[in-house]
């Protein structure tokens, strides 16, 4: 261990600290680098939004945090520290004990994510009783309380319903009740509202925010829609091709974003105060292949400013650099150029 390492290891850790997380899948076509060197930290009571296009590695990351990858087909390296306990190197049994109790997850599609053969109540009771040595009656009462807390009317009746008898929004509420049944300190919501219609989306997001205040847990919201995280998050991590390209507080990220990909995301965000024709500026091209990732910046084939760097964008991978308090960006552009581009070319068009 070098002196440098010794210092980092002893440094006080955040509640959740992820260091250089890599999750690779060996496949017949090659090594899929779904997550490739991701680092971030999160304190209790705060919310981190992870944003990125489809395929950028958001779900793989969240499953990695819960230790849900199958060791046979996923190569996971790096460190995940949760309240002082390291997860990547722990035994499956140790991680299992943390799941559901210390950390839990809300999945995207509540219909397919709940077992069709068991009642909502049975599924919450099961989640509660794994980690709490209580009788079925006590657990059932707890399940009804949880359903009540997430705003399900007549919880003492609905507790005996099956998932398919619930509406989409109610199902997601039930899913949240299940995830929160053991008071987790870390809650990960992977696209919790994409399967729902707009009005219900807002209700669910409000619910998550209220519950977070109540439980004071650390929350990670994963989405491809910047609008969802805008009001909910304290910090935002923008992911592209399995890496973090920009990280910062939500204010900073919306008002002074410095990465061309973040600009693209902002440009493709629907806004109600603009006319449809000029509010959408979708990012051209498709997400990068995660196999045989090219040298250089993964965004360069789609980046309008790649030529401004004398070829560096194609040959050299930009490091994630701190450019202000808590604000990090991975781009070769000059700081001055980025600010000028944002102020003069991008912002006026948004």
């Amino acid at each position: 261990m070098t002196e440098q390492d010794a210092i980092t290891v002893q440094a006080p850790r955040a509640f959740l600290e992820v260091r250089d997380l890599r999750i690779h899948f060996p496949t017949d076509d090659g090594l899929v680098k779904s997550v490739d060197g991701l680092s971030f930290s999160l304190e209790r009571g705060r919310t981190l939004g992870i944003v990125g296009e489809s395929g950028s590695g958001k779900s793989v990351t969240s499953l990695g945090l819960l230790g849900l990858h199958n060791r046979k087909n996923a190569k996971v390296s790096g460190e995940i520290w949760l309240d002082g306990q390291e997860i990547v190197g722990s035994s499956p049994e140790q991680v299992r004990r943390l799941r559901g109790r210390k950390m839990s997850m809300i999945f995207q599609d509540p219909l397919s994510s709940m077992h069709p053969f068991y009642t909502i109540g049975a599924q919450i009771i099961e989640a509660y009783r794994i980690h709490n040595d209580v009788s079925k009656q006590v657990a059932r009462k707890h399940a009804i309380d949880m359903l009540d807390r997430v705003g399900i009317p007549q919880p003492d009746k609905r507790v005996d319903d099956y998932p398919h008898q619930f509406s989409g929004g109610m199902r997601q509420r039930a899913m949240i009740a299940m995830s929160l049944s053991c008071d987790p300190e870390l809650l990960i919501a992977d696209e919790p509202t994409t399967a729902l219609d707009v009005t219900v989306q807002a209700q669910i997001l409000d619910l998550i925010r209220d519950l977070q205040k109540e439980f004071n847990s650390a929350v990670i919201i994963i989405t491809h829609d910047l609008g969802v995280v805008a009001e909910l998050s304290d910090d935002i991590l923008v992911m592209y091709g399995g890496r973090c390209v920009e990280y910062g507080e939500v204010e900073e990220l919306f008002h002074a974003p410095e990465h061309p990909y973040t600009w693209g995301l902002l440009g493709s965000m629907p806004r109600l105060d603009r006319d449809r024709s000029d509010r959408l500026m979708p990012i051209k091209g498709s997400p990068p292949s995660l196999i045989n990732v090219p040298e250089g910046c993964a965004f360069s084939p789609r980046c309008a400013f790649a030529e401004l760097n004398e070829g560096r964008s194609e040959t050299e991978r930009p490091e994630l650099r701190e450019i202000g308090p808590g604000h990090r960006v991975a781009c070769h552009l000059d700081r001055a150029d980025r600010r000028r581009l944002w102020d003069e070319e991008i912002r006026p068009k948004l």
Binding site: L68, S113, H115, P116, F117, A127, H164
Partner: protein, 337 residues
């Protein structure tokens, strides 16, 4: 649920009526369409050796020259209230349920069918237990150890099981375990369960295993495929995310979903076999319904063939009904829709 049960029951009864009509039509209408006269039909009834005079008499007495609807009506009436057969000098009463009268053997069909049923029931029931236990266990283990030596070996054996015909494995097992090793000297003769349970079982071991091997192979493949699919479901991921131990995830969450479709096929397979395990009974010369059907066809004994086909259809419809109900018990989406 009660509503559901009543609906299913009515549907099953309707299905039985339709099946009986179709079967009846196959035996009586189709020959007519292809140009056979009612005398030809009558000759099939009395057997190959009867003279033209006898044939004509039978034709009249059985009403084979009357409209088909009436014949069908009389057949159904016979099942419900019994029927009288008039042979000129002698009259025979065939009590309900009268599934016809075998002129070749001079006996009503039903009691003979009833005689054969325990044999088929013993064969199919015993084999079903074996193949279900072995097939499902192998399938689950294969799926969980996907790609391992165990998986490859059992899927290899299963492939052999699916592709080897029963008369081959059956005769081979007889040659080895009965004739050569003399382990099951009585294999190929049926002794009733109530007569001597031990002999009953030991005589049936070879047919059970032979039939079960074929079926277990199918079920192992089916279960493996189902299990692999289920393990990839979102709700399995949720179960793990809750912190359930892997054993609970597999048994309580995955297995239950995997076994539901397996159960459907099991019901239909069992129903089909109860109507006569033709190949197995033939190979082991067991006097069950399948052997009965083959023998009746060979003897041109139309009433018996008709009877055994109806019974077979009945078992299949019954099995379907049972499966439907079980399915509803297992899957709330079926029950509550």
């Amino acid at each position: 649920m009660v509503n559901f049960l009543i609906r299913r029951l009515l549907a099953a009864i309707a299905l039985l009526i339709i099946v009986s009509m179709v079967t009846f039509a196959i035996f009586f209408l189709v020959p007519r369409l292809t140009g056979a006269s009612s005398a030809d039909l009558a000759s099939r009834y009395v057997g190959k050796t009867a003279g033209p005079q006898a044939v004509h008499e039978v034709e009249i007495r059985l009403g084979l020259n009357r409209p088909l609807v009436i014949q069908y009506w009389n057949f159904v009436k016979g099942i419900v209230v019994g029927a009288h057969y008039n042979f000129g000098p002698s009259k025979v009463y065939c009590g309900p349920p009268c599934f016809g009268y075998s002129f070749v053997n001079q006996t009503p069909v039903w009691p003979d069918l009833l005689d054969r049923m325990p044999v088929t029931l013993s064969l199919a029931g015993g084999a079903a237990v074996i193949w279900l236990v072995f097939g499902v266990t192998t399938g689950v283990i294969s799926a969980l150890k996907r790609g391992s030596v165990v998986d490859r070996a059992s899927m290899g054996i299963a492939l052999a099981g699916v592709s080897l015909p029963i008369f081959f494995t059956g005769l081979l097992s007889l040659a080895i375990f009965r004739d050569n090793l003399q382990w099951f000297p009585g294999a190929g003769t049926y002794i009733g369960l109530t007569q001597n349970p031990l002999t009953w079982a030991s005589n049936l071991v070879l047919p059970w295993v032979t039939l079960a091997f074929l079926q277990a192979a199918l079920y192992a493949r089916l279960t493996r495929a189902g299990m692999l699919e289920t393990m990839g479901e979102d709700y399995i991921r949720t179960a793990r995310a809750k912190g359930l131990p892997e054993r609970t995830v597999i048994v309580r969450h995955a297995l239950r979903a995997t076994l539901t479709p397996v159960l459907t096929i099991f019901g239909i397979d069992l129903g089909t076999l109860l109507g006569g395990a033709v190949l197995t009974e033939g190979t082991f010369s067991l006097p069950g319904l399948g052997k009965f059907a083959i023998d009746s066809i060979n003897n041109n004994d139309l009433p018996r063939v008709l009877g055994v086909v109806m019974i077979g259809a009945f078992f299949i419809v019954l099995a379907n009904l049972v499966v439907d109900v079980l399915y509803a018990v297992i899957d709330p989406r079926v029950r509550l829709s």
